[in-house]
């Protein structure tokens, strides 16, 4: 199909509002289009979203909004009909939270570690699974959740681990996201997002009937001369 004909088709779809955002046509290279996080301020800061074909990281201390941000990214990806994978060596994902964030659970492949016994899956197995998922080309977003993995265990991984993963993801339209407590790694063109929690938001005065309404958080993009944006994550019901 010629480029002019393809462009005319996409214009036709948009004019007739058959879709708000034209999906990738078959065979179209989607690598140039970043993966939106679904949070307007963050996407504007990143120039559209997280880059595809790169290892990116989202890190911060506890209760800084890391998981909420990554779930929003996964939900936005699924809203376009894509698949996502969540590799969870510490088994910390709450499906109800993911569903409340808009994640289509039927399109989410969840690999859970954390079990004890001979079938326990640790961090090396999780990294191997990430390599399999990235190499399959089936998933638009692959998340490796190492936020609850002790630092000494992360340090035991071979130094070339992240370089190999970057090489694997470089030829794919997939975005590999590391969810961590501190800086781990990122690709040469990957995003490094640090979150810092600010004040929580409560509904009403202290006392019975009060609810946690949300959490304000500040995002810093880039390790040197970071750019900042603040946003709020609403509390789950």
């Amino acid at each position: 199909m010629s480029a002019a004909l393809k462009a005319a088709l996409e214009d036709l779809l948009r004019c007739r509002r058959l879709q708000e955002e034209g999906p990738p046509l078959r065979g179209e290279d989607r690598r140039l289009r970043p993966l939106p996080t679904g949070i307007q301020g963050v996407d504007a800061l990143l120039g559209g979203g997280l880059p595809r074909g790169q290892v990116s990281e989202v890190h911060g201390p506890r209760s800084s909004g890391r998981t909420g941000l990554v779930l929003s990214l996964v939900a936005a990806s699924m809203a376009r009909g894509s698949l996502a994978a969540w590799v969870d060596p510490a088994d910390r994902l709450a499906p109800a939270s993911a569903s409340a964030a808009g994640v289509d659970l039927a399109r989410l492949l969840w690999l859970r570690g954390g079990a004890r016994g001979p079938r326990a899956r640790g961090l090396p197995e999780a990294v191997a699974a990430v390599a399999t998922l990235v190499g399959s080309g089936l998933f638009e977003a692959v998340v490796l959740d190492v936020a609850a993995v002790p630092v000494h265990e992360l340090g035991r991984l071979p130094g070339s681990t992240w370089i190999r993963l970057q090489r694997m993801v470089a030829d794919s339209p997939c975005a590999l996201v590391l969810l961590a407590e501190a800086h781990v790694a990122r690709g040469p063109a990957g995003a490094s997002l640090e979150l810092r929690a600010s004040a929580p938001c409560w509904s009403g005065a202290a006392g019975p009937g009060r609810l946690l309404r949300g959490l304000g958080t500040e995002l810093l993009a880039g390790r040197h001369s970071p750019r900042r944006v603040a946003f709020e994550l609403q509390a789950p019901v």
Binding site: S63, A206, P208, Q234
Partner: protein, 420 residues
């Protein structure tokens, strides 16, 4: 010319008449204890119809069956003559009404009301029915009457419809030297799977499952059966799945012979939509899940599915099988704070002040409660395994927001998870 073989007694196994008939011609129609043969063109092979008929009966006797045979120039005449007359019957061309006339009317296998009607009319034989005027019979019984009269005269109403052979997709390779190891086995599997999958595709089939039988050097049979999420006829996909399975479940001995048997299923017809994103290839999905076998076998991989209950953490792990076209949940208006669950919930010591949590201590978590929301009480499943809890959202001085709860059945505190 048509032939017919009929067994007046029940057959020892289904398909025995078809096997006999296929020794003479490939076009046969099976009708239970009767089989029709299309003998057109066999005049050059057999000297006379009588010799062919005697050979058919001899073939039956060779398998321990006493059969009745008929050869005629119409399908119906051969069928009725074989069912109604013992031994061999040769119906000359144009002589069908005369040969069939004395045979009983029951050979037409009439419905009860039609049989009773003909009995009241005094009809006993095919000749009696054939002698009735065609127009009068049609006026009284409609098109069915005319059809029955034609049948009684040995005239055809339908052609012979050949019964297709039972499909079998199986390849076997006996090795001159035993093989040990996955690498040499990979080449052998490719040799078996290429023609097997080509045969499937040629018949418009896919393999929904594959059975691999390995005869080991100690004469044991080692069997592995695979059934991916979607049928496929790609030899590369099947080879990868088989090798991954054998890597996880090695046979333990060298292999002397290999048999691969496919469970055929009609090919899947899918029309893709211009407006929807491309769906994942089922073959690639099956390969990927096979490579994650260590996770899937332990039940630690799949799609979570929420259970419709108020009980906290109620979900089940389902097989990852993304829907081809399904409504995607609407995105929330604002991004949501997520709960990072502790499994199992962490036992905690909570100090209270005025009935509210003031200090929380749990493995890896410690701090004074700076702010709190709650209590929110919930309970359920009183008819089964009851649960009752009192939940609090707390902000600790050392940092972090947590959901803690008091189990009112056990009177104990736990940390359910951290808000992140």
């Amino acid at each position: 010319m048509y032939g017919c073989l009929h067994s007046p007694r029940p057959l020892p196994f289904e398909g025995s008449l078809l096997d006999i008939a296929r020794e003479f011609t490939p076009r046969v129609e099976g009708l239970g204890t009767t089989v029709l043969l299309d003998l057109h063109g066999l005049g050059r092979v057999w000297e006379s119809p009588a010799l062919l008929g005697r050979s058919l009966l001899a073939a039956g006797r060779g398998r321990g069956l006493e059969l009745q045979a008929a050869l005629a120039w119409t399908r119906m005449a051969a069928l009725l003559a074989a069912r109604g007359r013992a031994g061999l019957t040769l119906v000359p061309p144009g002589g069908e009404p005369e040969v069939l006339a004395p045979l009983p009317l029951e050979l037409l296998q009439l419905p009860p009301e039609r049989r009773d009607l003909f009995h009241r009319w005094g009809l006993k034989s095919l000749g009696d029915l054939a002698a009735l005027p065609a127009v009068g019979l049609a006026e009284r019984l409609g098109p069915d009457g005319a059809r029955l009269r034609r049948m009684a005269r040995g005239e055809d109403d339908q052609p012979l419809v050949a019964t297709p052979r039972a499909e079998s997709f199986e390849c076997t390779l006996e090795l001159e030297w035993p093989v040990d190891g996955l690498e040499p086995l990979s080449f052998l599997l490719a040799r078996l799977l290429e023609p097997l999958c080509a045969g499937l595709r040629a018949r418009g089939r896919r393999a929904a499952g594959l059975v691999l039988d390995l005869v080991l050097v100690d004469r044991r049979l080692y069997r592995r059966a695979l059934r991916p999420a979607a049928p496929t006829a790609e030899p590369r996909t099947w080879r990868t799945l088989l090798l991954l399975d054998l890597e996880a479940h090695p046979p333990g001995e060298a292999i002397a012979a290999i048999t691969v048997r496919a469970e055929a299923t009609p090919a899947r017809l899918v029309q893709f939509s211009l407006l929807d994103p491309a769906q994942p290839s089922p073959e690639r999905l099956a390969e990927t899940l096979a490579r994650l076998q260590e996770w899937t076998a332990a039940g630690r991989a799949g799609s979570p599915a929420l259970v419709d209950t108020h009980r906290p953490e109620a979900f089940v792990m389902a097989t990852f099988s993304p829907p081809s076209q399904a409504a995607v949940p609407a995105l929330p208006s604002a991004p949501r704070l997520a709960l990072r669950a502790f499994r199992p919930p962490l036992p905690a010591r909570v100090s209270l002040r005025d009935g509210e949590p003031a200090f929380v201590s749990a493995p890896g978590i410690r701090g004074a409660v700076v702010d709190r929301a709650g209590p929110w009480r919930a309970s359920g499943d009183w008819w089964d395994v009851a649960w009752s809890r009192e939940e609090w959202d707390v902000s600790l001085g050392g940092g972090g927001f947590y959901r803690i709860f008091r189990d009112r059945m056990r009177e104990a505190w736990f940390v359910e998870g951290e808000m992140d």
